[in-house]
Symmetry: C2
Subunit: 475 residues, 2 copies
C-alpha cells in the first residue's frame, strides 16, 4: 500500500491536469448537447482504457453509460487479503460497483460566475468549474486510486466495476433499464458512491439516510382565455388568486406545520441518542443562516435546522406561473395558474400515500369556481439504513486512517433515487461516502471542489478496497 | 342630411375596402416596430388629406400623433344650425375633439387566430382583423362621416379636430404632453370617443362611468440564490409560499370581500334607481357565464355580475412568477417570488389612498422571514359624470335616430386614463359612444368588428355633429 500512496502523491500534479481536462467538457445533460455529451463519454473511455481497465460504452435511449471493470486484469495477492477471503477462488473474489456520473448541471446564470464555468481555475486550493465537485471530481478520485494500484503492480484485493452515467442531473431515466438488462454482470457485494457531502473540510462523513421525494404539478383553469381585468374583473374567480389561497392552506404560516391530513403518517421522532449524534459537531445555526443568505431561518416549530433538512418532511413550492410576467403591467384575469411542488419525505413515509394525501387536501380545498388538474410526477422513497453494516464499518476504518478522525454518520436532505434502484433491482446496499463540502455550490454558480478532498479522496479510495475485501461477510 | 346619408350608403363598399387597407397595417405599439407604426400614421395622413381636412403629424418622444381638423374648410349653413348658435361669428363656432388611436394590441397567441390577424377577412357581416374594433374601425366611422359632409358639399355645423394617437395600447405616455403643449389649438366644447362597448348589436349605449386603476408589483426575496430543496428545504422560508400566503390574505375566499383596511373608503352604494337603470336590458348571468367560459361566476357577495364589473372595486392578480417554470421539475427553494396586481377603482376611491392601504396591508402581513419590495405602478382615478350633460343629451338623440331605440346609459369596468387627461388638462368632458360589442375580442385572438356597427356608426356620427351644434350650451 505504501507504493500506492507514494504513486498518488507523486502523480498528483498530473491528476489535477487530467481532472481539469475532464471538467472542461460541457457535458450538460439538461441542455441535451449530444456533441459535448459524446465528447465527455469518449474522453472518459479513452482515459480509463489507458489506465488498463476494460471499458465499454453502453448505449441507452438517452446518453451512453461508461462501464469499466478491473475484472480479468488483477489477481488477488494472498498476503493482502484477509483470512476470510483467503483461499477463495478468483471467481469468488468480492466485486463492488462504483457509481458516478459524467453529466453536469447547466451553468446558468452565467453572469454570477467569477470564472468561466468550463475553464477550470485553481485558486486557494480549490478547483472552480461546473462539475468539479458534482460529480466529476469526486468520482475521478476513485478512478485515480485504481490507477495507482495498477501502475504500481499492487494487486487489487477485489474487483470493481465503474458505472458512470450521463443522465444523473436529468433523473437517471435510463439507468434502471441498464441495471435490469445487465443484472448478471453487475452482481456484486455493494455499491460505493461519492456524491454526497462532508460537514466540513476536516471531518469525513458517511451518509446513512436520504430524504425521499414526491413531485406534483397543480394547474388551475378559470376563463377559457385571458380576460380584460377591467371589463370582467370582479365577476369571476381569478385562478391565480385561487391558487395562492389553495397553496396557503398547505402550511401553518406561524408554526411551519404541514396541514395536510395524514401527511406525517409513519414519520418517527428521533431517539435522544440519534438526535445527539445528528447534532454532534454540526454547523451552528447562525453560520448556517449566513451561508443560505437569508434574514432568518424558518422551519417546523420544535426542531433544529439540521432536523428540518434531514428528519422532517416538507412541502416546497419549486415554481409558480400565471398570467403576465414581462415588464410593466398587463391588465388581465389570467386563464391559467400553475404551481410545481415537491414533498421531501422521511422514514417511513411512502411517496404514494403522501401524494394521495396532498391530492385529497387540494381537492377538498379547491373552490368550485375553477377547474383543477393535478399531475403526480416522479417519486422516490426515503432511504435509511442501519449505519452498522459491514460496508459502513469498512469505510469508517478507511476514512479514519486518512483523515485521522472518526467519520461522522450523517443524514442528508436530498434524494438519490438510484440508491433505491441498486437496492430494488440488484439487491445491493450503497455506501455513501461523499467528498463534497456544503459550500461547493453544486447546481449553483461558482461550483468548486476542494483539492484537499481530491487528494484525501484518492487515499481513502485506495484504503477502502482493502478494508472492504477484508471485512466480515457483507450484509 | 339626406345627401350625407345617401353618400354613406353608396360609398360603403369602398369604405370597407379602405378600412381593410387600414387594418392590414401591423401598427403594434407594444412591439415597437417603427416601420409599421410610421406606415400606418402616414397612411392615415394621406387618407385624411384626400378627404379634404388639414392634417399634420405631430412628433412625440414615442409614436407620432395624427391631428386633422376641419377648421378653415367649412362654413356654417345658417339653416342647419339652431337658433342658439345662429348669428355666432365663425370663430365662435363650436369645436369638438374626436379622439382615437391607430396603434393595436399584439396579435399573439397567433395559433388561436382562425384567420391571419393582418389579412382582414369579412365573414357573416363581421370584419376579422387585429384593430378592426379596437380602435381603427370605430374611429374610421367618424372619419367617413366627415368625408360625407365634405364630398356632398354639406356644410359642417361645427368644427372637428381628430386626435389619433399611436400609443394608446402602451399607456398613452406622450399624449398628456401633447395636450399641454397644444392647449390653445385644442380649445373645444368636448371630446367624442368611440372606444367603448354597446351591450348588444341592436342597443346603442353611452358610457358614463369607468373604473379607475392602480397597479402594483410585489417582490419577495428569500435566499440570495435558488437553493437545493432537498439539502435546505424545510429550514428557511420559501418566498413562493410566503407570497401565496400573503396574496391569500387580500380577500375573503368565501365572500369575495377585499380584506384590506380602508380599501372601500369612499365607495358608495348605488341608489335603487341607478341599480335598476344599470340592470335594465342587461345580459343575463347565464349567458354572461357562458361568454366568459367559466364553470360559474364568482364575485363580492351581495352584488350582481354587472355591479361586480362596474360599481365595485377589485384586486386582481395579473401575473405571478417564481422559481422553475419549464417542463418537468427542478427541485429548488426559489430565491424570488413576485406578483403583479391591479386594483380597479370606483367612485370615489383615490388611487393614491388605495395604493397606500394595500401597501400597509401587505407590510403588516408579510412575514419577517423574507424581504419584500413593493413598487407602485400607474394609476388613474375612476371616471363618472352625470349622464345628463348636453353632450350626452345630443348623443342620445343622434343614436335614437339611427338605431330607432333609446341608447342605454352604462358603466364600464375598464379604465380610459386619457379621459382624465382631457378633463384635467383641457377642462373637457368626454362623450363615450362606443361601437364595439362585448364579443369583439379586443386584445384577444379573432378580433372582429360588426359591419352593421360600422354603418350605423357612420350615420350616428353624421347626426351627432348636428345635434351637438344645436344643443343648449355645453356643460
Amino acid at each position: 500500500m505504501q507504493k500506492v500512496h507514494a504513486y498518488l502523491n507523486k502523480e498528483y500534479p498530473r491528476f489535477l491536469e487530467e481532472l481539469k481536462e475532464y471538467v472542461s467538457i460541457a457535458s450538460i445533460s439538461a441542455q441535451d448537447d449530444k456533441k459535448q455529451i459524446s465528447k465527455c463519454a469518449e474522453w472518459l473511455v479513452a482515459h480509463i482504457k489507458k489506465i488498463g481497465l476494460q471499458v465499454k460504452l453502453f448505449k441507452t435511449k438517452g446518453n451512453p453509460i461508461v462501464v469499466a471493470t478491473t475484472r480479468g486484469i488483477t489477481k488477488p495477492p494472498l498476503k493482502a487479503i484477509s483470512p476470510l477471503s483467503r483461499g477463495r477462488k478468483e471467481k469468488n473474489r468480492r466485486h463492488f460497483l462504483v457509481y458516478g456520473h459524467y453529466d453536469v448541471q447547466p451553468p446558468e446564470p452565467l453572469e454570477l460566475w467569477r470564472t468561466s464555468p468550463f475553464k477550470p481555475t485553481v485558486k486557494n486550493g480549490k478547483l472552480f468549474a461546473r462539475g468539479a465537485s458534482d460529480n466529476k471530481g469526486q468520482n475521478f478520485a476513485h478512478i485515480k486510486a485504481i490507477e495507482a494500484y495498477i501502475k504500481t503492480g499492487t494487486p487489487l484485493p477485489c474487483d470493481l466495476t465503474f458505472i458512470i452515467e450521463g443522465e444523473e442531473e436529468v433523473g437517471s431515466k435510463n439507468l434502471s433499464e441498464f441495471l435490469r438488462k445487465n443484472e448478471k454482470m453487475l452482481s456484486a457485494s455493494g455499491v460505493v458512491i461519492s456524491d454526497t457531502a462532508m460537514p466540513e473540510l476536516e471531518t469525513p462523513a458517511i451518509t446513512y439516510a436520504l430524504r425521499g421525494i414526491a413531485a406534483m404539478e397543480i394547474t388551475m383553469r378559470g376563463p377559457d382565455r385571458d380576460l380584460h381585468s377591467g371589463m370582467y374583473g370582479g365577476s369571476l374567480e381569478n385562478p391565480a388568486h385561487a391558487l395562492a389561497a389553495l397553496l396557503a392552506t398547505l402550511r401553518d404560516k406561524k408554526t411551519g406545520k404541514i396541514l395536510v391530513d395524514g401527511f406525517y403518517d409513519g414519520v418517527t421522532e428521533l431517539s435522544r441518542r440519534e438526535r445527539e449524534e445528528l447534532h454532534f459537531g454540526a454547523q451552528d445555526s447562525e453560520s448556517y443562516r449566513e451561508f443560505l443568505g437569508v434574514k432568518c431561518l424558518f422551519g417546523e416549530k420544535g426542531y433544529s435546522h439540521l432536523e428540518h433538512t434531514t428528519t422532517r418532511p416538507t412541502i416546497e413550492i419549486n415554481g409558480i406561473t400565471s398570467g403576465y410576467q414581462g415588464k410593466g403591467s398587463k391588465t388581465i384575469v389570467p386563464s391559467v395558474a400553475s404551481a410545481k411542488i415537491t414533498m421531501r419525505l422521511v422514514p417511513h413515509q411512502k411517496p404514494k400515500n403522501v401524494l394521495m394525501a396532498v391530492r385529497k387536501h387540494l381537492e377538498k380545498n379547491c373552490p368550485e369556481t375553477v377547474e383543477m388538474k393535478i399531475e403526480s410526477g416522479h417519486g422516490a422513497p426515503p432511504f435509511l439504513f442501519e449505519p452498522t453494516n459491514t460496508l459502513v464499518a469498512a469505510a469508517r476504518r478507511a476514512a479514519e486512517r486518512v483523515w485521522e478522525k472518526q467519520p461522522r454518520l450523517i443524514r442528508e436532505g436530498g434524494s438519490i433515487p438510484i440508491v433505491n434502484d441498486f437496492r430494488d433491482i440488484l439487491g445491493l446496499s450503497s455506501l455513501l461516502a461523499g467528498l463534497a463540502l456544503p459550500d461547493d455550490n453544486a447546481h449553483s454558480p461558482n461550483e468548486k471542489f476542494e483539492l484537499a478532498n481530491f487528494k484525501r479522496g484518492m487515499a481513502f479510495s485506495a484504503e477502502l478496497w482493502m478494508e472492504l475485501s477484508s471485512a466480515t461477510p457483507i450484509v
